[in-house]
Structures are given as structure tokens and as C-alpha cells.
Symmetry: C2
Subunit: 112 residues, 2 copies
DNA sequence: TTTCGTTATGTTTGTATATATATAACGATT
DNA sequence: AATCGTTATATATATACAAACATAACGAAA
């Protein structure tokens, strides 16, 4: 019965999106599966979309977020760099803080 | 060259969207023009879309946000209630505070 | 040198959303 | 009762986006 406040945050670099909730979710899945194709399956998006997102991420970031290898043992794979891992931790932290902050602001609507 | 952090916030009521940036923009235009059709034109959206948004707003809100009249002098019109005016002020206030808060958080990304 | 599963990419198909168009209903004013 | 610009609504068209499909390139290992 009460109002709820919701939000989406994202990080941009030179007008390109670096990180958003979907991109962070993809990076987490890559970290867990070790490959882009498995990560895409695990979060139910097409490989093509996942590839486009990851490509955009690495083009926008100041430092590489993943290392992708093609061919070789197991066909290749993708793994997060230390920078990539730190980014998703920082993003989650900011996002959580944002939710908490907004919850304190909601009273301004409820009390009208 | 630096990263930027952006956000969108919105208010929901029983899983229906009450207010978001687009809806607030529409309400402001209604307040300035006195009619839904003129408001739609002024923000470059179709009347149908504007009508759907306004209908959704009034169905989600606890109290009426606009009073719409049909027929009569000038054909009718739409105007904000006091509740509607208060809502857009509160929304803008929360949104601005959210931006400022997020700017303080961005350093967590920049410093990586 | 053949195999394998992956990254990388293009092309086609499908779907959801927005736009355009059309029309009815309304009621104060003339 | 005729007019007017608006709200209210349905339907058809167009557009943007996502998904599906297909295929080439890769390189370690057998």
C-alpha cells in the first residue's frame, strides 16, 4: 500500500556506458564460469548480446576488465582482471548505499 | 576523461510506476500549458503516450494528481492538484539529493 | 594435422514498443 | 442546436531492439 522508491545507477566514460546492473551481472557470471558463452547462458541472454556488452565494457574502461583468450585448451575463455573484480565490488557498494539513501528520502513523498 | 555516475529514480505504488523523470516532465508541462494535448506537443511525445502516462499516474497515486475536464469552454483541459504540485517538487528534491550523494561515491571508482 | 570449444562476427527473423491515424464523446459558449 | 478544442480510445503502421541462426578464426593438445 505504501510507495516504494527504486533506482538504477550506471557509470559512464566519455559518453559510453562502462557499468550498469546488467553489465555487472555479466561480469559476475564470467567470474563464476570462466567463459563468456557459459556466462551468457547462465544469465539467459544471447551470446551476441553478452559479447557486445563485454566489448563495450573493455572499450570504455581505463584498464582492461577481462582477459579473453581464443583457441587452445578448452577453446579459450574469459576471466576478470583484478581491476574488473574491484569494479564490481565498488559498484555493488555504491548501489547498496544509494538504495539506503533513497529509503531515507522516501518519507518526503509519503508525508504529502 | 574521468568517469561519471548517472542514475534514474522512480516511485512505485503496488508494482505500478507512479513517477519517473518522464512522468514528472509531463506533469510540469501540463502545469505550464493547462492541457494534456499541448503538454504532449511541448515535450515531443504523442498524445496517446501522454494520455497513457497520465492515466497510469492517476491510477497509481493515492490521491488525484490532475483534474481533467472534457468539453466546455476551450474544449476542456487538465491541471495539477496541490498534491500533484507537491509530488513533482518532492521528486525533484530527492533526485537532486541523489545526484549529489552519488557524486560523493564516485571516488570509490576513480581511485581504483 | 585433426579435433575441440571457445571467441568473434554477420545476417536474418521475431517481438515489443512507439508513432501515426482516425473517431467518438463531451459540454460551455455562441 | 451548432461550434470548438479538448479528453478518451481503438486500430493500423513503423521503428527499434532482442533473439536466433550461421559461420569463420583461433590455438593448445592429442
Amino acid at each position: 500500500m505504501d510507495y516504494k522508491i527504486k533506482s538504477r545507477i550506471w557509470i559512464e566514460s566519455e559518453n559510453n556506458v562502462l557499468l550498469g546492473e546488467g553489465r555487472v551481472q555479466l561480469l559476475k557470471a564470467i567470474n563464476e564460469t570462466g567463459s563468456l558463452s557459459k556466462a551468457a547462458k547462465s544469465i539467459n541472454i544471447s551470446y551476441k548480446k553478452a559479447w557486445g556488452l563485454l566489448d563495450s565494457i573493455n572499450k570504455s574502461a581505463k584498464k582492461p576488465v577481462t582477459i579473453n583468450s581464443v583457441g587452445g585448451k578448452g577453446g579459450g575463455g574469459a576471466e576478470l582482471t583484478d581491476y574488473g573484480k574491484a569494479l564490481i565490488l565498488a559498484f555493488d557498494d555504491i548501489n547498496k548505499n544509494c538504495w539506503e539513501f533513497l529509503d531515507t528520502q522516501l518519507e518526503k513523498i509519503e508525508s504529502l
